[in-house]
């Protein structure tokens, strides 16, 4: 369990909250690059950390993330016209640039200085890889750009999707840390999914339902090692890195791509799940890329033109009890991502952690919560920059390895848990 006040501290990320301040120390995904595909394209509403913002791309390709509402009388600038290096409000024609600076107030005389005093709140928006990143903290303390490997490899080697999840960010993240559910909830995916099946490790994963765990603290977060029996003299290890505040990577399978997630709060009851897949040393094949677009692996099939999953809360996730009986799915819900989402959303928008009954095997989740809480308090009380802001912390990888029984992952394979350009992932 968790005390109520700590549950509130960890789950609330709006302005001025301790966790909100913590999230505002990091570069975080605000949009997929594909959402602003060309100069002067339509602006996009972005709600993130409970702030209502608008992303747009001007006539010269500059990106901006500004307050959604016009400074004049508060209408949504989503209705604005994106033209000639600025966004013009549809109501009375005030115009703003990508920094939120008002550049024109048509009703004022042309030599009036009025508009230079009007500036909307704005944040930087920077394209790295397939993602537009923002930094919503004190702009004087902007950290260096992120260096997650999936965003730095050539675009032919990487793919990112996103989906809406109707739950608080923390219960979504905790699903990413808790790898023991894979042998249950996703068991059929290990056999059927084109981005999972066929790996040597899958049989160990399914063969030992009582993994041992080693939770190892790192500079940026944790490595959670899950150990299962392999052969008589060896163990199969799956190692999941978690980086503060909300980045996880899933241990890979065979030659399938590496993948992982960012869990980004929209508000306290919804989050965006950014999901990436990449190959460190080779291009994704056409088949791999197509499978990701079709919602296989850890991606989701979305309603066309949206980031809302086809299988969602409003249609019971297209629950199929017959497929469940036939053994095609464990829970009756299709697709690995939606299997997770369905269960995490079923907990309610913000799960009541005062009621949960954790076991020692939940130590990874317990430790991650403790690290987040400590970091939020240290930031508030001492102004301490949290772990995971330094881009050096971003260069991690998940791994799956078979090791002799007397060896442990952290001593045996430290280099395999680092992003190393030109070196293949460690995967069984």
């Amino acid at each position: 369990m968790l005390r109520q006040e700590i549950n509130e501290l960890l789950t609330q990320t709006g302005p001025e909250t301790p966790m909100g301040d913590l999230f505002r120390q990091y570069w975080i995904p605000a949009l997929l690059a594909e959402e602003l595909p060309e100069n002067d394209c339509p602006p996009v509403r972005v709600k993130i950390l409970s702030e209502r913002l608008l992303g747009f791309r001007d006539s010269e390709g500059r990106y901006g993330l500004i307050d959604e509402f016009c400074a004049h009388r508060g209408v949504s600038l989503w209705f604005g016209r994106n033209e000639e290096n600025g966004l013009r409000c549809a109501y009375h024609g005030w115009k703003y640039d990508v920094t939120g600076q008002c550049v024109e107030v048509p009703s004022e005389s042309s030599n009036s200085r009025f508009c230079s005093n009007v500036k909307l709140k704005s944040y930087p928006l920077v394209k790295i890889g397939d993602i537009l990143w923002t930094f919503m903290g004190d702009q004087d303390k902007t950290p260096p750009f992120p260096e997650y490997e999936f965003a730095l490899v050539p675009s032919t080697q990487t793919f990112t999707s996103k989906r809406l999840q109707e739950s608080n960010w923390l219960q979504a993240l905790e699903g990413g840390i808790d790898s023991s559910h894979v042998s249950w909830l996703h068991s059929s995916g290990l056999n059927n999914d084109p981005l999972f099946k066929g790996a040597e490790g899958n049989k160990y994963n399914l063969g030992d339902l009582k993994p041992h765990f080693e939770v190892v603290e790192t500079d940026g977060g944790l490595y959670i090692g899950a150990r299962r029996n392999a052969d008589d003299d060896s163990y199969y290890w799956r190692i999941t890195p978690w980086l503060m505040p909300s980045f996880t990577m899933v241990p890979p399978r065979g030659d399938h791509p590496l993948h992982g997630h960012f869990w980004i709060p929209i508000d306290d009851e919804n989050c965006w799940v950014y999901t990436f897949d990449y190959q460190p040393v080779r291009d994704l094949t056409a088949a791999e890329r197509q499978a990701m677009k079709d919602g296989f692996g850890v991606h989701s099939e979305n309603i066309p033109g949206t980031y809302i999953p086809v299988r969602n809360k409003s249609n019971d996730y297209l629950m199929d009890r017959d497929a469940q009986k036939r053994g095609e799915t464990f829970s009756g819900v299709g697709g690995i991502a939606i299997q997770d989402a369905s269960l995490q959303e079923s907990m309610g928008p913000i799960v009541d952690r005062t009621k949960e009954r954790l076991a020692t095997t939940d130590a990874g989740i317990i430790k991650a919560r403790a690290k987040l809480r400590k970091a939020a308090i240290a930031l508030r009380e001492e102004g301490k920059i949290p772990e995971g802001v330094d881009p050096a912390h971003h260069r991690v990888r998940s791994a799956s390895v078979v090791l002799p029984r007397d060896q442990a992952f952290i001593e045996s394979v430290p280099e395999k848990l680092k992003a190393r350009p030109g070196v293949r992932q460690a995967s069984v």
Binding site: M1, H212, V215, D316, Y317, G348, L358, A370, I410
Partner: protein
């Protein structure tokens, strides 16, 4: 997208407004947690955490593993000392216990750890190992074979967080 909404579907009850209609029930404390310090470095840490009042958790220091009764020569019993000095035996203390948390900062308690691990395995008691202090690699090698979960490294606040999570 339309699809099955089953008769009597409760999926819509997963809303913020509906949450307050969930059945309320008293929170049962866990059946029992034992925290065992395996050496003097661990004892210091455990003593500090034990100062907070806990509902069910009991705290011990492992003294010696007794090997004489072992059918196959291995130890089967460990002498515990509670923090106020009373003597207890491992096998008595495992009655009605869910989880054992072992804390170590060296390889001093390796025999006790192995004995505790074996006794817990037989009884289906969950075991966790907290690796305290700087002597990480050595200490890990002591706890790894006998704990289902290891925290590396761990300090007093980790033990506290674990005990709170377990409602100890």
């Amino acid at each position: 997208m339309t699809g099955p909404i089953f008769p009597g579907s409760s999926v819509k009850a997963a809303s913020a407004a509906e949450l307050r209609f969930r059945l309320d029930y008293p929170l049962a404390p866990s059946r029992g947690v034992r925290v065992v310090a395996l050496d003097s470095g661990a004892e210091l840490m455990v003593r500090k955490v034990a100062e907070t009042p806990w509902t069910k958790a009991k705290f011990f220091v492992a003294e010696t593993a007794i090997s004489t009764q072992g059918m196959h020569g291995g130890p089967v019993e460990v002498v515990f000392r509670s923090l106020d000095g009373a003597v207890a035996l491992l096998n008595d203390e495992l009655e009605d216990v869910d989880s054992i948390i072992m804390v170590a900062s060296s390889d001093y308690g390796s025999e006790a750890a192995a004995t505790i691990g074996a006794a817990c395995a037989v009884r289906g008691i969950m075991t966790a190992g907290l690796v305290h202090g700087d002597n990480t690699e050595l200490t890990v090698s002591v706890l790894r074979p006998c704990a289902q979960v290891l925290l590396v490294p761990a300090d007093g606040s980790d033990l506290e967080a674990l005990l709170i999570a377990l409602r100890a």
